[in-house]
Symmetry: C2
Subunit: 126 residues, 2 copies
DNA sequence: ACATCTGTACTAACACAAATAATACAGATG
DNA sequence: CATCTGTATTATTTGTGTTAGTACAGATGT
């Protein structure tokens, strides 16, 4: 922590960018289960963002079972992030569904889709 | 026209829902090039939505080269929708990119992705 | 020519969510 | 006990989506 990039001019809310960034670091293994997250105030100061916004992101991540917080102690990566992983997979499936649906509108074949995935997969592998 | 479903309680803006719905009908071939769209006021009345919101959607669709409008004449599906198709394909590619990126976070393999696409493709084919 | 349709432009008002700001409280810790 | 932590609360500002009302110019059919 914390190589998180926040774009205050983006149309996507800051607290969502925070959620996505932290979630990515956790799922990618950059943060181990049980590891402490920066305090609400510290991260707010570091990113020059209001503490309330940080807390909003933390609250959402806790709702997703990705982190757990306790007054006086701090916030920590959940010991078991598998439930959150499952929910995340569901979202990926939904994204693919949307992509397939849109591809049909463009008369893009299934082969083209898998080819694109293959190309993108290999192109970002190393 | 116009089997468009608008959910006023959705978090996605009404004008975006309109754009998506009309774009889908055009790309799917449900509306032929040159075919007239309902007038701003008529569609507003039919959907019980403010005319300004309809116009906002039409303006966006015109920006995307999907339709063309002229004062006094009306709005029509563009004669050549290929440029819009190209832009749409770009968006699909971006969606796939995001899906691949997220899949990596979940340790989902490329084979699993292509399998999901295949299943979704066949499941919505008829 | 006239009435009526069309898209377009503009202002004002309202609703809602995001974000900021400033406190305050309770639990944990050294 | 001082100081950190998360959490809750209220007020304010800001931006965007939406509605409402009005107006203007071009096209069309009678």
């Amino acid at each position: 922590m914390s190589n998180i990039r926040i774009d205050v001019k983006s149309r996507t809310p800051i607290f969502e960018q925070l959620c996505a960034g932290i979630r990515e670091q956790i799922l990618a293994g950059a943060m181990a289960p049980g590891e402490p997250l920066p305090s609400v105030r510290a991260l707010a100061c570091e990113l020059a963002i209001n503490p309330n916004t940080i807390q909003k992101a933390y609250a959402e991540l806790e709702r997703q079972k990705l982190i757990s917080s306790a007054p006086g102690r701090g916030s920590f990566v959940s010991d078991d992030i598998r439930p959150a992983m499952g929910a995340f997979e569901e979202r990926i499936l939904a994204d693919l569904r949307a992509a397939v649906h849109r591809a049909r509108l463009c008369s893009i074949g299934k082969e083209k889709l898998t080819e694109l995935i293959d190309k993108e997969w290999e192109g970002t592998k190393p």
